[in-house]
């Protein structure tokens, strides 16, 4: 009997060792948290083929939408932690807990690579009676409750940006009109259904170039190379430096418990893939800032991001539950 157990164990370790040595020995599933054609989808579909080359394996990507991305997140969390199911996601799972959208977030995952981050900015309808951030704030003060801001639901980029404005300026009396995403909201902006939209720079840049919408301010500490003439919001009010730079990001994750060498292999593959010239050009064209971080650095980035953003939303009164309940410390504490 003892011999049998020993044999079984050695067989297991042998086969396990063999499996690890050959990773990937079968197709890897890449679960994209958002719909086809969106930012996350575009980023993942353009970097992954290069990562596949470096990895020497096949990554089959599929979109799994619904529940603000929670369905995909739960799916990957419930899959075997063997590195054959990747989560390709954006920043919002870090807000699930405080927004009451789910009980899992990236703390259940190991980051393979945080690829890039976007820069938020404020754009306005071309006919809006203000031309920059200062004029907009003045106009809102004169006409409280009249200006229409686009939104994408609680926890979305616009809610964080308006939360920042509320904290820094001590209030923001506007109408917040919810849309399904920044695409539909920017369409509505051009049609005049809303006046101002906080959007990621990459989504707005083509509309600005064509003169279909006007930029008010970039939400960063300095102007963006893509739009050098648009002032940074800190040049209007230095109070924003507390929160900035801030932005949505894209990353590839595996469930916690995935063997370290698999994580390392995947991390190396994505790091290599992100160095591809075509990918860099694509990200640059869309105004994304390359990050390409992994390991502890990525872990720290996620923790800091979550602390800053959840407490910002908490202070703006937008959360369902306090970050404290989940052990998310206030930044600086």
């Amino acid at each position: 009997m003892n011999k049998f157990i020993l044999g079984a164990i050695s067989a297991l370790t042998l086969s396990a060792g063999a499996a690890l040595a050959e990773y990937p020995e079968k197709e890897i599933q890449g679960i994209i948290q958002w719909g086809a054609g969106g930012s996350t989808d575009t980023v993942m579909r353009s970097v992954t083929p290069h990562a596949e080359e470096a990895l020497g394996g096949t990554i089959v990507m599929q979109n799994m939408t619904g529940g603000v991305g929670a369905i995909a997140l739960n799916h990957v969390a419930d899959s075997d932690a063997d590195g054959y199911t990747l989560l390709m996601g954006a920043e919002n799972p870090l807000l699930y807990k405080v927004m009451g959208l789910g009980d899992k977030d990236y703390s259940d995952f190991t980051p393979i690579s945080i690829l890039a981050r976007g820069t938020p900015m404020l754009v306005a309808n071309v006919d809006a009676p203000f031309n920059d951030y200062a004029e907009m704030m003045a106009y809102i003060k004169e006409n409280p409750g009249e200006v229409r801001f686009g939104a994408t639901g609680p926890g979305g980029l616009p809610s964080v940006v308006t939360g920042m404005i509320t904290s820094v300026e001590g209030g923001l009396d506007v109408i917040s009109v919810p849309y399904d995403g920044d695409g539909p909201a920017l369409t509505a902006l051009q049609g005049g259904a809303i006046d101002v939209m906080p959007a990621v720079l990459g989504a707005a840049i083509e509309g600005i170039r064509a003169g279909n919408m006007k930029p008010l301010a970039v939400f960063d500490v300095e102007a963006n190379a893509k739009l050098p003439d648009v002032p940074a919001v800190t040049s209007f009010n230095d109070g924003y430096s507390t929160y900035l730079p801030w932005g949505p990001f894209f990353g590839v994750f595996v469930a916690n418990g995935t063997p370290d060498d698999v994580v390392a292999k995947l991390g190396a593959a994505y790091a290599e893939g992100a160095k591809n010239d075509e990918f860099i050009k694509l990200m640059d064209d869309r105004g994304f800032t390359m990050m390409g971080i992994s390991g502890q650095e990525a872990q720290d980035f996620l923790t800091k991001w979550q602390q800053g953003t959840t407490w910002l939303l908490q202070d703006a009164g937008l959360t369902k539950a306090s970050p404290e309940d989940f052990g998310i410390a206030r930044p600086g504490e």
């Binding site: 086809a36 054609g37 579909r45 919810p178 369409t187 049609g191 259904a193 083509e206 064509a210």
Partner: protein, 502 residues
């Protein structure tokens, strides 16, 4: 002159021609299988064509798109299972034709009409794209809401038999569409604290269940009956048939282009609205609607193919997707290093004319593939029921699973299939349920957006409606169509015309 050259790119390069043809052929079959959607096919192609040049990649996608929108009508006519949401209206008169043994003729008419509709859509795209996209941008949330109300009034024409049962079915559909996390505030609605409900009910699963499974269950009653022999002597419709329906097809194509160009609506709503329009304007159909009227095939099929050209209009002029497929194509253009947006037509006009050329080619291929192979397809309905029914069940399950790779959707699909069977059994129409599910979000989201924009003040909202010509026109249309369905209308009309006739 360069525009003409760009337009002809596809014709002059055999490789591109082949890819468009291949795409169209694949599209017809992908579209015909319920649950396998064009959206899915195109998003798979993005990874697949990643390393290709941009022209071949786009050629293949456009072929699949054009073929797929058309392909949905095949199973709608032959099996009463729409291959895609845009073919729901096609089933209403197409399937009765197949039951009479005239499936061949129905497919023939459908193909030619899809071809005509496709051309109208492409024509508008090529000649008036900036004009139409300006118009489409002008639609405010309140206009989308009024459009949805207009759509809900279609319940009247989709309910064969009892209007009361139709209204019940439509309301049920709207309620089903509201299940899950509300997309605007993420509040849970009708979820009863069940994890499974928070994702909502997949509308494709409802459609496949209600049409596919319920059809299979219904056919179990006649499992011994011989299948209807299909007449396939006359497939290509005569010139006089085409000419007869030409005025209607041009009207419904226009509906298709406009609805397709609106960023919030697509071919499914366009086809249903076109069907309703046909029912209104056709004074004396040879056969009653719902009983195999040709007009009932012409209208939705021209409209949904015209919507393809329509969907490209905001994509090419503004970088705004007209529907889910063009949304993915925008992503594909990004990946291939282009910047789709309002500047694309100025920076890279060749791309615009190339896409127009590829669409024209795909449309021609669609006509060719549509008119051949019908014999083989009609054999499907001539299969013994003991084989056909399990096949329908299999297709339905695979289709429902494939939409989101979710087993939950299969359960929903089966549940709605059984439910749909009982609904049919007791004379409740299924069309309005699907209509309700499609329109539920359009109505709900836009009503809330509209009223939120007016600081939740109803009178300010009405002021906005009355002061905008577009909203006012839509409101008047809603009122007119509503009144025309009540007894008040026929009484009033009778009184008005009595004097003249006497």
């Amino acid at each position: 002159m360069t525009a003409l050259w760009d337009f002809l790119t596809v014709f002059t390069q055999p490789q591109l021609l082949l890819l468009v043809g291949l795409g169209t052929f694949a599209g017809v079959y992908v579209g015909a299988i319920p649950g396998l959607s064009v959206t899915m096919a195109v998003s798979i192609l993005i990874s697949f064509t990643f390393s290709w040049d941009v022209y071949p990649a786009i050629s293949l996608m456009i072929g699949i798109y054009m073929g797929g929108v058309y392909g949905g009508s095949r199973t709608a006519i032959l099996l009463n299972i729409p291959g895609a949401p845009s073919a729901i209206a096609t089933a209403l008169d197409g399937y009765p034709l197949a039951k009479r043994g005239e499936a061949g003729q129905a497919i023939g008419v459908t193909t030619v009409m899809s071809f005509i509709g496709g051309f109208v859509g492409i024509g508008v795209l090529a000649l008036a794209a900036p004009l139409v996209s300006d118009f489409a941008l002008r639609f405010q949330p309140r206009d989308y809401m009024l459009l949805a109300v207009l759509g809900i009034l279609l319940v009247g024409s989709l309910s064969q038999g009892s209007l009361v049962k139709g209204i019940f079915a439509g309301a049920l559909g709207i309620a089903i569409g509201a299940v899950g996390r509300d997309p605007l505030t993420f509040t849970e609605r009708f979820t009863f604290d069940l994890q499974i409900m928070t994702g909502g009910v997949s509308f494709i699963a409802v459609m496949i269940g209600m049409f596919g499974v319920s059809e299979a269950l219904l056919q179990l009653h006649h499992v011994d009956k011989d299948a209807v022999r299909q007449k396939i002597t006359r497939i290509v419709p005569s010139l006089s048939t085409v000419r007869k329906h030409l005025p209607l097809s041009l009207q419904t194509s226009t509906i298709g282009v406009v609805i397709g160009a609106l960023p919030g609506t697509g071919g499914d709503i366009a086809a249903l609205m076109a069907y309703d329009h046909a029912k209104r304007v056709t004074k004396n159909p040879e056969r009653a609607f719902g009983d195999g009227a040709m007009e009932g095939l012409v209208a939705p099929e021209t409209a949904n193919n015209a919507a393809v050209g329509g969907a490209f209009i905001p994509m090419m002029t503004l970088g705004i997707p007209g529907d889910a497929v063009t949304a993915i194509m925008i992503g594909a253009l990004f990946i291939h290093g282009l910047n789709p947006g309002p500047m694309l037509m100025i920076d890279q006009p060749d791309m615009f004319w190339f896409i127009v050329g590829a669409l024209v080619t795909a449309n021609i291929f669609m006509l060719i593939f549509g008119l051949t192979g019908i014999r083989l397809f009609t054999k499907i309905v001539e299969m013994p029921r003991s084989v056909l029914i399990p096949l329908i069940m299999l297709l339905s399950i695979v289709g429902a699973y494939a939409v989101n790779n979710s087993l939950t959707d299969v359960y929903w699909m089966l549940g709605f299939g059984v439910f749909g069977y009982f609904m049919r059994h007791y004379g409740y129409p299924l069309g309005p349920v699907i209509l309700g599910v499609i329109l539920s979000r359009l109505l709900d989201d836009n009503w809330r957006r509209a009223i939120i924009s007016e600081r939740e003040d109803f009178w300010r909202f009405m002021g906005g409606v009355v002061s905008s010509p577009l909203s006012l026109t839509l409101l008047i249309a809603v009122i007119l169509i509503f009144v025309s369905q009540t007894p008040l209308w026929s009484r009033g009309k009778a009184r008005l015309f009595r004097k003249k006739e006497s």
